[in-house]
Every structure is written in C-alpha cells, then in structure tokens.
Amino acid sequence: MITIKNLQRKWKEFNLKDINLTIEKGEYFVILGPTAAGKTLLLELIAGFYIPDAGEIWIHGDNVTTVTPEDREVGFVYQDYALFPHFTVKENIEYGLKIKKIPKDKINKESQAMMDLLGITYLRNRYPTTLSGGEKQKTAIGRSLMLNPHILLLDEPLSALDARTKAGLQDELKKIHNESDITIIHVTHDQTEAMIMADRIGIMMRGEIVQTGTTLEIFNTPKNRMIADFVGTENVLEGHISKKIDGLAIVDIGSSEIFAISDLETGSKVHAFIRPEDIIISKELQETSARNNLETKIKKIIHLGAIVRIELDNGLVAFTTKQSAEELELNIDEHIYVSFKTTAVHIVRR
C-alpha cells in the first residue's frame, strides 16, 4: 500500500499542494489530468528523485520520505523512455542487475527471459536510437521490471505511440499487472487510456488530487464543473432546484425544467451534467421510462466515424450510432424529441 500524506513540493512552475492519496497493493491506479497539472512531479516524488517540501510518503508500512531512490525498489518508466543511449537493449535491461553485482550467467538468463516475455529478443544488440517508439517503450518497461519492484511508476507511457502500438502495449501492461502482485501507478492525460487501464482513477488538476474513484464514478459523477469539462462531459446545464417531490428534484434551467435525483435542498444553485450518449433522440414523443422529454430542433450533424454527434438547438449535444442516425433519417432543422432518464442527470452544487 502506498500512502501519501499532506505532500507538498514546489519545483519550477509546478506546485503540489497538500496531496493525500492511498493506493492499495496490487492496484492499477491511473492519475488522470491535463498537462502541467504536476502529475510527473508527483510520480518523481514517489520514486524519490526529489525530497518533498512537506508531507510524508509511506510504502508498505515504511516512511520512505527521505529514502534515496536506489533504496525504494520502485520501477520508473518515462514518457520518452529515457533509455541509456550508450547501451544496447540487452545492456539497458541488465543495468539494474549489473549494479547489484549478480553473477553474469544469472544476469544473462534473467535478461533473456525478460526479452522473451516482451518479444524483443531480436533487438538485443541494437542501440536505442535505432528502435521504434514501441520497441523503446518495451525495453524501458523490461528494464524497470528486472529488479522485481513492488511498485511500477509509468509516466505517460503510451502517449508518444501510434494507435496500434498503443493497443498492443496496453494489453502487455494489463497482462504484467494481472500476472504479478505489482502496484502500478500510471499517469496520463488521455481519458480513453484511463478508462481502458484503470482499476481506480485519481483526477489531478493544478497540483491537487481533486477526485478519486472507479472509472464509472469519475466519468458519470464528476465532482465539479472543472472535472466534468476535463473528462469530456459535454452537456452542462446551469440552474437551481425549484422543487422536491418524493426525493426527485426538479431543476429549473431557465428554458425548461428537468427531473433529477439529488439530496440537495430546494433553492440550491446547481450544475446538471448529462452525458451525450445518455440522450435518446426520437421523431415523435414516446412513452418511455425516461422522465425528461424535451422538444427541440437539430442544429448540426457531425459524422465522427463510428458515432454521430448531434448538436441541438437547446444547447445539448447527443451521440448516436451511424446506424440509428441513418434509420431515423435525421435532418438539420428538423423538430425532434430528446429524452433522458432522471438517473442520467448528475447534479452538483455550483
């Protein structure tokens, strides 16, 4: 278990303020945040490359706040791989064991096994400059795993890779994680990557961890507008709770009223979030279980390959598949109905 208590550190333009975080042993934890949020600095503090200005870091019950990096048994993989350019792939992978003065034949055997596992044996005598991005990243991951660290820290490990290589390495990382009890902390700015990889996600913005939770918690119930904006919640409505009936809140958003579930009291000023994929479009008013039914016009139809993005006159955005869009024969300026469930509306105080 990794526990971070009230961690503070200033470094160049970055400023970590009072970070508190607990990551369970064996967890795949993703720190998701925009660039310059201080994500890398947080990882580097966990690895011990810097000493915090204040606060503590505990790993598996030990306070390691001032322990040097070489004594933390933490693997680290940087975004641009940070391979040693004067060593071959094999020499890079064996570096940690050579430092430990392990016998040569044992090193040989272990590095061979690692290269086989990652499928990079054929690259063993190549120098890093001659490798592709994916090959470099596999080497970097292999190098960091050779000492069987308790914790693997990944700093945007897939950001510089093309889509196909990325998918392959995602599988590889998942496999490594599943087949050992290693704790992985993976930093990224890519929401999709976070959704694919994470057991749990921590949202980091401007030097703070602003929300932690499972993937669904984060994406369906962002804690505030800033997080909602960042994780890509498209529909953000502003209003106030005008009435409450049987636990159901009626939110006045000016042009109309919507039904939602909320514990907040009447009169609260709120933001209402609705994910575009939760909005159903139909040509006629339908009898459905959805409580919210609004009439509006289509303003714009944008084909995005698999999905179609429909921008509506009342400011909402809906996603639908190409199939349904074709079946419905939607046209710009056409009058349509949108409906969404009360449970699809996520209310936060503003």
Partner: protein, 272 residues
C-alpha cells in the same frame, strides 16, 4: 566542370541580390584571415631549407616541447578539478552560482597581461601561493611550474564551460532512472553521466590544451625562462626579424595541428 559550378552559383546569385550583398560583406573577414595565414605559409614555401633547419634546431624543439608538456599538465589539472565543478554547475542550483560562474570566466575577459601581473603577484617567492610552495622547493617564477600555472589560469574556463554544457545535454531523467534501478549517485555518474558527457569533456580538454599552448602574455611575465615556444618565437622576431621567426611559427602551428588531428581521429574511432 569547375567553371560550370561557378556559373550555376552566379546564376543563383543574380536572382538573389540580398544573398549576394551578404556574401560580399562576409567574404571580407574570411579573406582577411585566409590571406594573413596563407601569406605566411606561402612565403615559407619559398624557403624550405630554413624550415628544415628550424626543425633540427634543438633550442626551438625544446621550446616547443616545453609548451606542449606544460599545456598537457595544465589540461590534466583542469580536467581533474574542472569536471566535478562543471557537473555541479550543470546540475545543482545554489545561491551565488552565477557568481561562481562569473569567477571561472574572468580569465577569458581579463587582459592577458593583467592576468600575468596578477599571477606574478601570487606566485613570486614572497607571493601568497609562491611562498608556501617555495618552502617545499617548488619555484614558479622563471620555472616550468610557473608556465603551467599561467596556462592553467588562462585556459581553465574553456574546459569548465565546455564540460558544463556537455553535462547539461545529458538528460537528468537518465540519472533518475539509473538511481531507481539501484545505482548510487556516484555509480550513476561513473556509468551514465560521465560517459555520455565525454565527447564534450574531451572537446573541452582540447580547447584547454590549445589555449595553453598559445598563451604568451602571462607566461612571458611569470616565466620568461625556460623559454616556451611563443616566447622563443617572440625572441627570434625581436632579435633576428621576421624571416628568422617564421619557420619556428610554422613548426609550432604544424605540430599543434598534427596533435589535434590525432586526438580528433582517436575520438571518432572510439565512437560507434
């Protein structure tokens, strides 16, 4: 073939009066340097026997040897003490860092004669450094150690600056990764940082050495004897005139050039 190339260049230039004007201006300085040195070599070609006799003259050879060996010793000292300094300046931030960097660069900016006067002041028998060394029998004024001291003073900024820039090009994240793989700071320096900065450090050593060999003013003041090559050439010039000093000049430049080429080649050979 050759004319054709010139013709093509001319055609391009006509289109491009801007470039033509700039080339013309720039040509002046290149010609200045080229003519000045070319003339010296060209005139000597008319008198090869003088060059040969200079190459056989043991006083000239001794002077060149003194220059080269003193410059080598001074470059070695600069290396031993300068590389750690350069590493600290490249990696660490601390109060008065820019003051330290300024002090190290003073020898480049200060008039050489003034540096010589200052060196004489501290290395003479009663000087702040000369006195304690005198007690253990090391004399600087008009002696080999004085030549080394003068060369070291004038040339050390070249090594420190070049090595520092070399260390700066080594990504500190490589050091981070090395430490996360269990290597101590010292092991990381020895196995990662130093090897990667080596080409720059090597360049710094060459620059430092060359600056040492070429130093005249400070050496003249602190150690007229034993005569190092520049002092010897100056003496020949004042006593016997241009034609007598030219062969020694060409000999010194040529020997330095050969050493350069050998060093560069060995460096390239060592790289993959």
């Amino acid at each position: 073939m050759y004319l054709k190339t010139i013709e093509n260049v001319m055609k391009k230039l006509k289109k491009d009066r801007f470039l033509l004007f700039f080339l013309f201006s720039g040509f002046f300085l290149v010609a200045f340097v080229f003519v000045t040195l070319g003339d010296m070599f060209y005139r000597q070609i008319g008198d090869i026997p003088a060059l040969i006799s200079a190459a056989k003259d043991s006083t000239i050879l001794t002077a060149i040897w003194i220059s080269i060996s003193a410059a080598s010793v001074s470059a070695l000292i600069a290396f031993i003490f300068g590389v750690p300094l350069a590493y600290i300046l490249a990696r660490k931030d601390f109060a008065f860092k820019s003051v330290i960097e300024g002090i190290i660069d003073i020898p480049i900016m200060i008039p050489h004669v003034v540096a010589g006067i200052a060196l004489y002041g501290v290395f003479m028998r009663s000087g702040i450094i000369g006195a304690p060394f005198g007690k253990i029998g090391v004399v600087f004024v008009d002696a080999f150690p004085g030549i080394v001291a003068a060369m070291l003073f004038m040339s050390l900024p070249y090594l420190v600056d070049t090595a520092r820039e070399g260390f700066k090009t080594v990504d500190p994240r490589l050091e981070n990764v090395s430490r996360s793989l269990g290597a101590s700071q010292w092991t990381t320096f020895r196995r990662i940082t130093f090897p990667l900065a080596l080409p720059s450090i090597f360049n710094g050593c060459i620059l430092c050495w060359a600056r040492g060999v070429s130093e005249f003013s400070a050496v003249l003041i602190i150690a007229y004897f034993p005569k190092s090559a520049p002092v010897m050439i100056y003496d020949l010039f004042t006593m016997y005139g241009l034609t007598s000093s030219r062969p020694a000049s060409i000999l010194l430049v040529s020997i330095c050039l050969v050493i350069f080429i050998i060093l560069r080649a060995s460096k390239h050979g060592e790289r993959r």
